[in-house]
């Protein structure tokens, strides 16, 4: 069926003149969001029956629960119910079922849910939660993945081998290694033997928080007819329904009994993918049938008990010849994956398949290890492992160029991967405009032109790094779309991708608009409801423009065929002679013929005898990348086709850094991404601007700090600084490259995550360029720079 579909994509690609594709069509959710009409989960009213829950959290990173006494909490007026792990002895998880609805006998991270209080108001719930007495036997937490790898390390999950998981994970029983992705290609020894220079070093990346401004929230209701409805702030309504159905199967709930509704979401960045705190809402609803119950995370809980971006220790050994040809790469990644890795292990997996970066590397050995620690669960975060490994890899690439006496940009261009090159797992690289991206970025920052600051206490530095990323998806991750016309020729499209802010609803409207010649403002695309909208795996991986765009294109093409057929049946024109323009059907062979869509797409076309032909035009479309497979040799990763394609690009900065204080000011940041086809360039520029700033923050100041118990020390915006309007680079230059993706809608591929991936290494390079010091640990704060300049680091 792939052929059939690709034929359709080609058909969409082949449209000669494009009306709305490539235009900066204003977003279709603008009025909603600028008038206050946009409704987020916490804005929904559930009436006086609504109950509120507060969660009792572990104050320890690792402890045994000896007993729980809830009697004082239960005695508080207004408390409806107190539940503990005994009430829900179930595991859950997306890729590996290693997480518990509530902690059972052991807590594995500070902040883990131990019990919950349901009360008639939020204040009472919170007060009662503080009255629940938990008796802990405190144990020594494992906070460092390197220590967790020691032979005599305590096993954080002694039952690891019993956990159900996807076939592409390889847990090591009797260790803290939840998954080990090994990628091997070529003759490594020969590669290093051939090298004139071998450079080896280590790089460290800490944990980070997503910091969507809307905290996680769930309202759940099990009605008396045994129907569980959840309203969640989520990127993943269908995946949530699936995870809930699996976790709550012992209670007799299955997919048809569960409905997940996701209105607008106040930012996700990966943090609202999968299921984290929402499982608590789902479980609690089952003990108060008939009453909706709300769980809303505080900002502190948002930091401590959703997902965090995992920390990583990277060891890189790179070999290259004098002429600048890379010969071999050994890349070890030790991930601090946290207490539960049901989602995070797939981040480790993705990095382990792609940690060559966008380079042609003939001999590769990658080991990406997912290591349990007693820190909060790691998980998806914009970049999905790529931001993490690019810091070390790109820093290392620049250093290798310097060792070889080559310009780092020339070195990159010499080794940059191009279409048809063999990837580390054996497949061929997709079409890519990487070289064009490098050249345009270099031009934007005047690469090679030395600049000096007017202020003698300051130095100017430049950096230019590359990035790539493929969507990390199960091989059967799919998208679907329903389309229906309304009486006035407008239409409604339903999909289950999530509008997270990226402008997805607008892009879907543009795709349908282009094919059906109906302007985007006459197309309503709504947020998901699993009862009404068709399937979407999740809105993650920067894949919905591509994948769901294909599904919407397929639905629009089906609708177009139906429109042509009705006109053929009623008016006799050959279907092949008909086309759509300005909301009308027109005909190549009869210039006088035109029939407005509004005249027949619901009511049909009247015949001379007063009967009608046609009827409501409805259509559906789907897309599944049927060419992918996650099955491969576990020792080498050869033999499968795990990734659909890579989006590539380059980023460059010009910084001014204070020689004494180390303070960095970003004067210019340029980023070029090959998006295949820019369906909406304004939205892509928005991704570049926003993503760059988010990436710059991870290298300049954001950082999670934990105490010896694994408690987060900075769980507020006061102590975990995210950028304000005054922290923006003086100039941001977005550059759009368009090398079409053959199987993408109008040639498009995704770009959301990619915009932050290269931000960290470019700053490292620019600091090295300005001051001659190489920082190998993120973040590169003013303090660290100043200490390095003074020779006082380490």
């Amino acid at each position: 069926m792939t052929d059939t579909y690709v034929g359709k994509a080609d058909e969409a690609n082949a449209m000669e003149t494009l009306g709305v594709i490539g235009k900066g069509t204003p977003r279709i959710d603008g009025l909603d969001k600028l008038t206050g009409a946009a409704e987020y989960v916490d804005d929904m009213d559930f009436g006086p029956a609504l109950l509120h829950a507060a969660v009792v959290e572990s104050p320890y990173g690792y402890a045994r629960i000896k007993g729980i006494d809830a009697s004082k909490a239960e005695a508080l007026p207004g408390v409806v119910k107190v539940v503990t792990g005994k009430d829900f002895p179930y595991t859950f998880g997306m890729y590996m079922k290693d997480r518990y609805v509530f902690a059972q006998d052991v807590v594995r991270f500070a902040g883990e849910q131990v019990a919950a209080v349901i009360a008639r108001d939020a204040r009472t719930a919170k007060k009662a939660a503080s009255l629940v007495e938990v008796d802990y036997e405190v144990m020594e937490p494992l906070l460092d993945p390197m220590k967790a790898l020691a032979d005599d390390a305590v096993l954080i999950h002694p039952d690891l081998e019993d956990y159900e998981h996807v076939p592409w994970f390889f847990p090591k029983a009797g260790t803290n290694i939840a998954h080990w992705r090994k990628t091997r290609r070529g003759d490594l020894e020969a590669g290093f033997a051939e090298a004139d220079v071998i450079l080896e070093d280590e790089y460290t990346v800490p944990r980070y928080a997503h910091c969507a401004i809307e905290p996680h929230v769930v309202v759940a209701r099990l009605d008396k007819a045994h129907r569980l409805t959840l309203w969640t702030a989520s990127q993943s309504p269908y995946t949530q329904r699936d995870v809930f159905a699996q976790a709550l199967a012992p209670l007799g709930l299955s997919h048809k009994d569960i409905r997940v509704v996701t209105p607008y979401v106040g930012g996700g960045f990966g943090g609202k993918a999968g299921v984290s705190m929402e499982i608590i809402g789902a479980a609690l609803a089952t003990v108060v049938p008939g009453r909706p119950v709300k769980v809303r995370w505080t900002r502190e809980q948002e930091f401590t008990n959703t997902y965090q971006r995992q920390g990583v220790r990277a060891r890189i050994r790179l070999g290259a010849k004098k002429d600048g040809t890379i010969t071999a790469l050994e890349h070890d990644l030790y991930w601090d994956a946290g207490a539960y890795v049901e989602y995070g292990a797939n981040v480790v997996n993705a990095a382990g398949l792609s940690a060559t970066g966008p380079y042609r590397v003939p001999a590769v050995k990658i080991d990406s290890l997912c290591v349990y620690t007693n820190l909060p669960p790691g998980g998806p975060y914009r970049g999905f492992g790529y931001s993490e490994f690019h810091f070390g890899l790109e820093s290392h690439i620049t250093r290798m160029a310097q060792e070889l006496g080559m310009d780092p940009v020339e070195f990159r261009k010499k080794n940059a991967i191009v279409e048809g090159d063999t990837l580390a797992y054996g497949e061929a690289m997709n079409p890519s405009g990487l070289i064009e991206a490098i050249d345009k970025t270099a031009a934007a920052i005047d690469w090679g032109v030395e600049e000096t600051s007017d202020d003698p206490t300051k130095a100017i530095g430049k950096g230019l790094c590359l990035f790539w990323k493929a969507p990390a998806m199960p091989p059967n991750a799919s998208s679907a779309s329903f389309l229906k016309f309304n009486e006035d020729g407008s239409m409604n499209i339903t999909v289950s991708g999530m509008e997270l802010g990226q402008g997805y609803l607008t892009v879907m409207a543009q795709v349908a608009s282009e094919i059906l010649a109906v302007p985007p403002e006459k197309i309503r695309v709504e947020t998901p409801d699993t009862d009404r909208n068709p399937y979407e795996w999740q809105t993650v991986a920067s894949h919905v423009t591509w994948s769901c765009g294909n599904a919407v294109a397929a639905a629009a093409l089906e609708a177009r065929e139906k429109i042509y057929k009705v006109v053929h049946d009623a008016r006799g024109y050959e279907e092949g002679s008909l086309y759509l323009e300005d909301e009308k059907v027109k005909c190549d062979t009869d210039p006088d013929f035109e029939l407005p869509l509004a005249e027949f797409v619901v009511g049909g076309i009247m015949m001379p005898d007063g009967t009608y032909r046609g009827g409501p035009i409805v259509a559906s479309g789907k897309f599944m990348p049927e060419f992918t497979s996650a099955l491969s040799d576990p020792e080498t990763s050869q033999g499968g086709h795990p990734n659909v394609h890579y989006t590539v690009g380059a980023a460059g900065v010009v910084i001014e850094v204070d020689r004494d204080t180390g303070k960095i000011h970003v004067k210019k940041a340029a980023l070029a991404a090959d998006v295949g086809r820019a369906i909406n360039p304004v939205l892509i520029e928005g991704q570049i601007t926003g993503g760059l700033l988010q990436g710059l923050a991870t290298v300049l100041y954001e950082d999670m700090r934990f105490d010896a118990q694994g408690r987060l020390l900075n769980p507020t915006f006061t102590d975990y600084k995210i950028p304000t309007s005054k922290d923006v680079p003086d100039q941001i230059i977005p550059i759009i490259i368009e090398t079409p993706q053959p199987d993408g809608p109008f040639g498009a591929r995704g770009v959301g995550e990619h915009t932050m991936i290269a931000a960290a290494p470019v700053i490292g390079d620019a600091v090295a360029d300005a001051l001659g010091v190489r920082l190998k640990e993120m973040p590169i704060t003013a303090e660290r720079v100043a200490l390095a300049v003074a020779g006082m680091d380490d």
């Binding site: 600028l34 996700g268 505080t298 928005g686 006061t718």
Partner: protein
């Protein structure tokens, strides 16, 4: 311990029973039904609950409801009684928002700025919204829309 306060919200007179510890944000959202001020941090860091208190921007999570007694509170729902303000219009037109969660607070912070400085510099706009955290846009698109709105001026829409 309940206390009845009288306040004006978006031009409407309200009398609401509040508890001593209740914040203006809770009362607006739960008892007045105005949902544009959002709950982002509940400690004054993020600015998503920004409202105008007698025309001055405040964080509704840091104002006790009893302090609103006798005052005028304006939220996004109340800044224009005649369609959109030019600022809202420009933000829609230029797609200078993403998830939209911070937008109500940002519009109010800028609305306050434009009342005082109808022709602000880019730096003044950045200063005015520096207490409103936005994780999506990188702020530049917002600043552009504000400058564009200022260039056109409010006309008769206030």
């Amino acid at each position: 311990m309940k206390h009845t306060i009288e306040m004006n919200v978006n031009g409407e007179a309200w009398a609401v029973d509040v508890a001593p510890g209740e914040t203006l944000l809770e009362v607006l959202r739960e008892k007045v039904g105005v949902k544009s001020p959002k709950i982002g941090c509940e400690r004054g860091d993020c600015g998503s609950c920004t409202v105008l208190y007698d025309g001055k921007s405040v964080r509704a999570c840091l104002v006790l409801a009893v302090e609103a007694e006798g005052h005028e509170i304006t939220t996004l729902e109340g800044i224009s009684h005649d369609g959109l303000t030019v600022l809202q219009e420009k933000m829609v037109e230029l797609s200078s928002f993403q998830c939209g969660f911070c937008a109500p607070g940002i519009v109010l912070s800028v609305h306050e700025l434009l009342q005082e400085r109808p022709d602000p510099s880019a730096d003044e706009v950045k200063e005015a919204i520096s207490g409103n955290l936005c994780r999506c846009t990188g702020y530049d698109p917002i600043v552009d829309a504000v400058l564009e709105a200022a260039r056109i001026g409010p006309g008769d829409r206030g």
